[in-house]
């Protein structure tokens, strides 16, 4: 730690960063809380309504419905991408051109934009023109198209999301697996432990911090889902895929309800904060058990 050469230096160095973060992240949060107390259509002057928006959001069941949809999407995404990612990480954990190629293939989906992935899969899942959609139809699932039925659309979105982000969990799990010292495995093998026993007694416990990280990161990512919903289903059919961010977007930009949208922003931030606390807790527990 050094003495600054001039008293003002540290403040000058931090000013642009804190200025931008303050203006575009902290202040807006307060502004949202303030605006949530007003009814405002962006055209006429705002009118104070107190907590009416919150009452309405909870009593109409909108929050509950949005939360349920977001949660069921997140549950499928998190469990699916973690399971697949772990499996793949263990399968590609060796040297060689072939496995490096497989790794690149899976990870490339993580680098491509959500829009590209969404459009590509919309076509593939199309009941008439799509390769996967036709195959599903032949098997008797989703006759009218997986994206056009309210009961399957959210799971179709979750499936596409898994395809997109499994590369991430694979890479992180692989790094976690490679941190485990090989002599642990050698010693276990000498003691006669088979592959399953080695996984249960070495790999799984050692990977616990990694699992906590991947799980909570993908949980937060799936709560922030928007692009894929906007492109593939626009929240439909019959609101079955209206996840949190899409609901907010719909309120403010399509229905011009700035007040209601702001109230929803405040609730959404509360939910994310809760998830982050879970993340911190999981991270601590993971570290401690190691």
């Amino acid at each position: 730690m050094l003495r600054p050469r001039h008293r003002l230096h540290p403040y000058l160095f931090l000013a642009p960063t804190l200025g931008i973060l303050g203006t575009f992240f902290l202040f807006p949060l307060g502004l949202a809380a303030y605006r949530s107390l007003y009814r405002w259509d962006l055209l006429t002057p705002p009118r104070f309504v107190g907590l009416a928006h919150y009452e309405r959001l909870f009593s109409s069941g909108e929050i509950l419905r949005t939360l349920t949809i977001t949660l069921s999407y997140a549950a499928v995404v998190v469990s699916g991408s973690m399971f697949l990612g772990l499996l793949l990480a263990l399968a590609v954990n060796r040297k060689g051109k072939f496995v490096a190629f497989v790794r690149s293939c899976v990870f490339s989906a993580y680098v491509v934009s959500w829009v590209s992935v969404a459009l590509l899969w919309m076509w593939l899942l199309d009941a008439d023109a799509g390769l996967v959609g036709r195959a599903c139809k032949a098997l008797g699932i989703g006759e009218a198209g997986l994206l056009t039925s309210p009961s399957t659309a959210i799971y179709a979105l979750a499936g596409v999301t898994i395809w997109k982000i499994t590369g991430f969990s694979m890479v992180v799990f692989l790094a976690g697996r490679q941190d485990i010292p090989e002599d642990l495995y050698e010693a276990a093998s000498l003691d006669g432990a088979g592959p399953l026993a080695r996984f249960v007694h070495i790999t799984w416990p050692c990977l616990r911090p990694t699992t906590a990280f991947v799980g909570t990161t993908s949980l937060i990512v799936s709560f922030q889902a928007f692009d894929i919903v906007r492109v593939m289903t626009q929240g439909g059919p019959t609101h079955s895929t209206t996840v949190f961010v899409y609901a907010i977007y719909e309120h403010v930009l399509l229905n011009l309800r700035a007040g209601r949208a702001s109230a929803m922003v405040v609730v959404f931030f509360g939910v994310l904060l809760l998830l982050t606390l879970v993340q911190l807790w999981a991270w601590r527990m993971g570290r401690r058990s190691r």
């Binding site: 600054p4 000058l12 804190l18 992240f25 399968a91 293939c105 490339s108 036709r134 890479v171």
Partner: protein, 272 residues
């Protein structure tokens, strides 16, 4: 031993299926972009086009100003990534190396911003920018992301590992503070800065959400918006055209990935 060989054989077969499951869709996209409308209508499941047509690409260039959109996207993503690198260094330096009143509070402020994603701020920021008539400008796309909380944190962590003596020596040699930050410390942090730049560039190149909310005007719109719009135009069966747009959109990201793969993979793994 024979059993082990069989297991390896099976595992490789499964991995081959995995590779196809991830590579196949891209291949399908590229092949689809060379089909004609007739191919799309009459034989949607035929893998190969009847002949390789450039029709779809011509239509993409006709219906959207591709050059303009690509330029906007590049300018936006490059400005954000460059601005972040520029600002992250002095901020990280002050937080890691300088003693001053309010350092703890400043650090906490930066960390608090990590908890607030753009998906939370877009409503109030949109309302703010609308009031000062900044919606539909490049400023609205770049400025909010000019500072990176995560980047500031990463640079601070990296600087903590560099001994104070090094900076003291540079000061004795007469180097100014800015020289120390940008000429002496920056090269030492090259790997951290490179991964920050890369991840930021790719993320913002791909971003759909923020430009969608903050722009309505063609002159500042970006490529992901334009390609998504291709599908909304017309009757909805023009998949060959959508896929041609999609190839143009995803090729640069895949190219950057191919070029920087090792670095990118390490950067992602290091975030744990």
């Amino acid at each position: 031993m024979k059993q082990k060989g069989l297991a390896r054989y099976l595992l490789n077969a499964v991995l081959l299926i995995v590779a196809v499951a991830w590579l196949g869709p891209y291949l399908w996209m590229v092949l689809g972009s060379f089909k004609s409308l007739k191919d799309i209508m009459n034989a949607p499941l035929a893998p190969l086009p009847s002949a390789f047509h450039g029709e779809a690409y011509a239509e993409v260039f006709r219906s959207i100003p591709v050059g303009r959109y690509l330029l906007n996207t590049t300018v936006m993503a490059l400005s954000i990534a460059a601005l972040q690198i520029m600002l992250v260094l002095p901020a990280g330096y002050a937080l890691a190396k300088l003693r001053f009143v309010g350092r703890g509070a400043a650090f906490l402020t930066v960390m608090a911003c990590l908890l607030i994603p753009a998906q939370v701020t877009f409503v109030p920021v949109f309302l703010m920018l609308a009031q000062v008539k900044l919606v539909n400008t490049m400023t609205a796309l770049v400025l909010p992301f000019g500072a990176s909380a995560l980047g500031t944190f990463m640079v601070r962590q990296a600087l903590l590992a560099i001994p104070d003596e090094l900076i003291e020596a540079a000061r004795l040699d007469g180097a100014s503070e800015l020289t120390i930050v940008y000429r002496i410390l920056a090269p030492m942090l090259a790997p951290t800065l490179a991964s920050l730049f890369l991840l930021s560039f790719v993320f913002h190149w791909n971003d759909y959400f923020w430009p969608l909310v903050m722009t309505t005007d063609e002159s500042v719109r970006t490529m992901p918006l334009a390609v998504a719009l291709l599908r909304e135009q017309g009757t909805g069966v023009r998949w060959h055209i959508v896929m041609a747009g999609n190839v143009i959109l995803s090729a640069p990201a895949l190219f950057v990935f191919a070029m920087t793969q090792k670095h990118l993979l390490r950067a992602v793994a290091a975030r744990r």
